[in-house]
């Protein structure tokens, strides 16, 4: 079985306080899943003290996310855990789609070289959580309390009060901000009186992690109507430790309790693999949902990850989008808490991440609908596309076996619209694009140069004599001249740069503004805008 990791509960002095004199904390993060853990690390690295609560005292039961995106890895690099994830994970970028037993087409999610991180790694979610938990232990500013379950929440004008249940009984704390990362079944969602709106899919999916030595390549294989599982879809994907994720669509009326039994799962998988040389790591049956909260910010209670939005897993958009929530929120909350930005900056988290959630829900709904047609005509349309896809390019591109997570692009008030002409490069509201560079002859990536700058804005400048005069708080990433060398010219190309051009990067690696010829005032205005000061 999967590696369960046990953490100890220990009593905290907060629990000895009088009920009426509850300890006060700036930020309490509820839920130590991938999102809550990453957020806590990010906040701590930005100088904030964080209390992180989780109702469990262990990780590693069950199996959930396996595919982590390039964007998530770049984020984890900034949190100091990226390399460990990549070392353990299996790297992949190719997906193949089969109809019956024939290859219909294949896609490559990162066709160009010159990026530090791969398109995706596969890694069991419990490893990711375990490495993040190790990282929290290195940061004195994080106070992680296991077996601490939030059971009630009271909202006041400038703070919240939480009641927390522990093995030693309940206690209370107050917090300026509470971030609810308590997962899809979020209790905090109910505590603020919000609902979860969206679509439920009737089809059920059997997810099995099996251990076997097999020679299949590290590619995502997806079948429509394969001979071993007639009329339905199937997926096979490698994970570390010789574990393979197998995903089989079941009928709507299948009985999950029966389908989950190993003796019933075994023949299905033997038919698929052609042999019985495997052991089960985990089996579960899911019915998927695509839904979200209408608002992610409820005064001083902010929702991130699955508590705020939930998708079906076919685009690997669950944890990956939750991590994007964390990176979007951390710097804003840190600026607000340190008094450097107005509280209204938090509203841009709601704007940006709501739009991202809509996009993720749209994409994963489309994939799930394609896999599980709801009506006879939907089934006919899918049949037509699969048949046409053998010979036509257009139909291949309509075959939807999952559209994998890509970073969202924000239409946001924090961006300064382009005033100059650009024919390529990330536009304001898009995320940093990686490129290979050298630093004194040593190979590094642009994402490394950015990661060094953990806590603030950065100006990425393409050298042209002197650098622009800017706010002292903005770090410079200087390419060309006596700075980092763009030996292959890829940074120049990927940023459509001309000598003197500059990109203002937000702390989450998103482009706030770009200039062909930055002026002190222009950069200052863009910076103010990105800090919500306008």
């Amino acid at each position: 079985m999967s590696a369960v990791r046990q953490f100890g509960y220990s009593r905290h002095p907060d629990q000895d306080r009088d009920r009426l004199r509850a300890a006060h904390h700036d930020v309490v993060v509820v839920g130590a899943g991938p999102v809550g853990l990453s957020l806590a690390i990010d906040l701590a690295q930005r100088g904030q003290r964080v209390v992180l609560l989780d109702d469990a005292d262990r990780i590693g039961e069950g199996s959930r996310a396996i595919c982590f995106s390039k964007r998530s890895l770049e984020y984890w690099d900034r949190l100091g855990v990226g390399q460990r994830m990549v070392d353990k994970g299996v790297v992949w970028k190719v997906g193949k789609i089969f109809a019956r037993d024939a290859l219909l087409y294949q896609f490559d999610l990162l066709p160009e070289p010159g990026h530090k991180r791969p398109a995706f790694i596969n890694l069991q979610q419990y490893y990711a959580e375990s490495y993040l938990a190790d990282r929290t232990a290195e940061l004195a500013a994080i106070d992680l309390r296991w077996s601490n379950k939030v059971t009630s929440l009271e909202r006041h004008n400038d703070h919240c009060e939480l009641t927390i249940e522990t093995p030693d009984g309940p206690y209370r704390v107050s917090a300026s901000y509470v971030v609810a990362c308590d997962g899809a079944r979020s209790a905090l969602r109910g505590m603020v009186g919000a609902d979860f709106e969206g679509q439920a899919f009737e089809d059920q999916f059997l997810i099995a992690d099996v251990k076997m030595t097999a020679a299949f390549p590290t590619e995502r294989w997806f079948w429509f109507d394969p001979p071993f599982h007639s009329g339905r879809s199937a997926l096979l994907h490698r994970q570390p430790d010789d574990v393979w994720r197998i995903d089989l669509q079941l009928s709507r009326d299948a009985d999950p309790a029966v389908e989950r039994r190993p003796e019933n799962v075994r023949p299905r998988i033997e038919r698929m693999l052609g042999n019985g040389n495997f052991e089960f790591e985990w089996i579960s049956v899911y019915r998927f949902h695509c839904r979200r909260m209408r608002r992610f910010v409820h005064d001083r209670v902010i929702f991130a990850g699955d508590s705020a939005h939930q998708v079906s897993p076919f685009g690997a958009r669950g944890a990956n989008s939750g991590l994007e929530d964390a990176e979007n929120l951390a710097w804003k909350l840190a600026l607000v808490l340190s008094g450097d930005a107005p509280e209204s900056l938090i509203e841009s988290y709601n704007t940006e991440r709501s739009a991202a959630a809509d996009e993720n829900i749209r994409e994963s709904t489309r994939s799930t609908d394609f896999m599980a047609p709801a009506t006879a005509q939907e089934a006919r349309m899918r049949q037509a596309i699969l048949a046409l896809a053998k010979d036509t390019e257009f139909a291949k591109r309509m075959v939807n076996g999952g559209r994998l997570s890509v970073p969202s692009v924000y239409d946001t008030p924090l961006s300064t619209p382009d005033a100059d002409e650009w024919s390529a490069g990330p536009r304001p509201g898009s995320s940093l694009v990686d490129a290979p560079l050298t630093d004194d002859g040593k190979d590094i990536y642009l994402s490394d140069a950015f990661a060094e700058n953990r806590d603030g804005f950065a100006l990425l400048e393409f050298a042209n004599g002197t650098s622009a005069e800017i706010d002292a708080n903005v770090r410079r990433i200087w390419i060309g001249g006596d700075g980092l060398a763009d030996t292959e010219g890829l940074a120049m190309k990927r940023y459509d740069a001309t000598p003197g051009a500059a990109y203002l990067l937000r702390p989450d690696g998103y482009v706030a503004a770009r200039f062909r010829h930055p002026s002190k005032d222009g950069v200052a205005a863009a910076l103010a805008r990105a800090n919500g000061l306008q």
Binding site: R380, Q383, A384, I385, L388
Partner: protein, 67 residues
Amino acid sequence: MTKLSTSSNFVKPDDAFRMILEAHRGLEDSASHALDTALVLILANHIGDLDVLREAIALAEQSAGKQ
């Protein structure tokens, strides 16, 4: 602003109508449905314009509602 052309585009409209009709002749309903479905997708891609497609769908819905 309408982009969908509803003026007559064929020199001999009867030929076009006939061509589609003959493609269906002799087919069971299920085969006819499958043929139409493929045809819609092929032609939609050929048009390659979401605005035109949207207008075409609206017009089709309207006329289907009148039948």
